[in-house]
Symmetry: C2
Subunit: 210 residues, 2 copies
DNA sequence: GCCGTTCTTGTCCCATGGTACAATATGAAA
DNA sequence: TTTCATATTGTACCATGGGACAAGAACGGC
């Protein structure tokens, strides 16, 4: 399956030329005349690909679109393409996670290399995201009470303490604990803590008493 | 305590002028005419500060020095200062972790802001580094055998399995396990797994049998 | 050879976790 | 009203973890 390159540029002839070049190179291509246009038909994150984005486009600017996509938790890497390089904008874009920042005119070879790097990275972050999402989905299926127990378990509390902190009995905690292990699909406390750590849902130690 | 700014620039008059400006602003300043000079009297990572680095300097270039410092695991943030901006170099520098990339001439206000951001970040990464280093130090004190047991514990193995995999008895593993908890200064398995996760010393699950 | 570290092992006993087999209560949804 | 999910609790029983108390064997360094 070939990667999908999304071109956002207001210069129609440039878009067309780039589209031809990339299709010849084996990519599938989507073209958008503005940031709005891309947002309206939001590309599928699941499909390996990247965004080729002009900095100065009418309406929403390139960096502004980048910000929006970050908010939307898009994983599609962005390769900026601009006519006039501006250091401050370049720095901002890269810090905000852009994969690359190229200046027009750009040699096909360089462009392809940048796109390939971006696509390769997308496959990594997309897979990573998928894994985290499935863990988050499991966590979301816990009832409120189970979630409380989960939090205390991964903080290292023993059943007795948890029961005391939640104002119930040890027996009840055992029941919840069982449900938690079941729903999170883990066999050991170690796995559970590992998940909590990766999801960042851990208040380290905390006070023993509420 | 004021932050320490390390200026690396081959232009002596520029160095002096910058030094005066920054000292007036309350910083302590170290000046270096070349990358070599800075490497020879390597600044203390412990002290809050940052590096102001020219891109084009005789001998080792700015980005090259940055690479060396990264290899040396320096935590001092780098703010690049250059006369002629080059997009490719800018992108590379930021990707390699530079805090900022500014062009000469630079307004004092902007420079100070960049330095303050860099110093603030340095305090964060330095503290983070310190915490990880103390954990690594604890881990390093484990004997080879204890380390093997540690690895299997945080993978979720129970004593019986560990004993079998290491070809010894459950009783022995209990002894090692006790030592591990003692040396790592933790009270619960959860804390131990959390440390392993943060140090990246975890082969997730793995086969039950060797 | 003596000493310290490491790795090893044992028994007894208790605390904690986990499971099987049940059962009650409450609130929301159908 | 009935039904379902949620939260609760009990009694056993067994598996696992962990401490107390002790001690032997191998190895390297002084």
């Amino acid at each position: 399956m070939h990667a999908y390159v999304h071109i956002v540029d207001d210069d129609c002839s440039f878009r067309k030329a780039l589209e031809r070049r990339l299709k010849l190179a084996g990519y599938r291509v989507g073209t958008y005349a503005s940031a709005r246009e891309l947002l309206d038909q939001l590309p599928d994150d699941e499909e390996a690909g990247c965004i080729l984005l002009d900095v100065r486009i009418p309406g929403m600017s390139g960096p502004e679109l980048q910000r929006r996509l970050n908010e939307l938790e898009s994983t599609l890497p962005i390769v900026f393409l601009t006519g006039h390089a501006d250091t401050a904008i370049t720095v901002q874009a890269i810090k905000a996670g852009a994969e690359d920042f190229l200046t027009k005119p750009i040699a096909s070879e360089q462009l392809i290399e940048a796109i390939n790097r971006a696509v390769a990275r997308h496959e990594l972050v997309r897979d990573q995201r998928t894994r985290l999402d499935s863990l988050r989905a499991l966590l979301a299926k816990l009832t409120p009470r189970e979630r409380q127990v989960f939090d205390l378990i991964v903080c290292g509390r023993i059943n007795k303490q948890i029961a005391h902190e939640l104002g119930t009995t040890e027996r009840t905690i055992k029941a919840h604990r069982h449900q938690v292990m079941e729903k999170m699909k883990v066999q050991s406390l170690a796995e559970l803590v590992s998940i909590a750590e990766r999801l960042g849902t851990r208040a380290s130690g905390g006070a023993v008493k509420a």
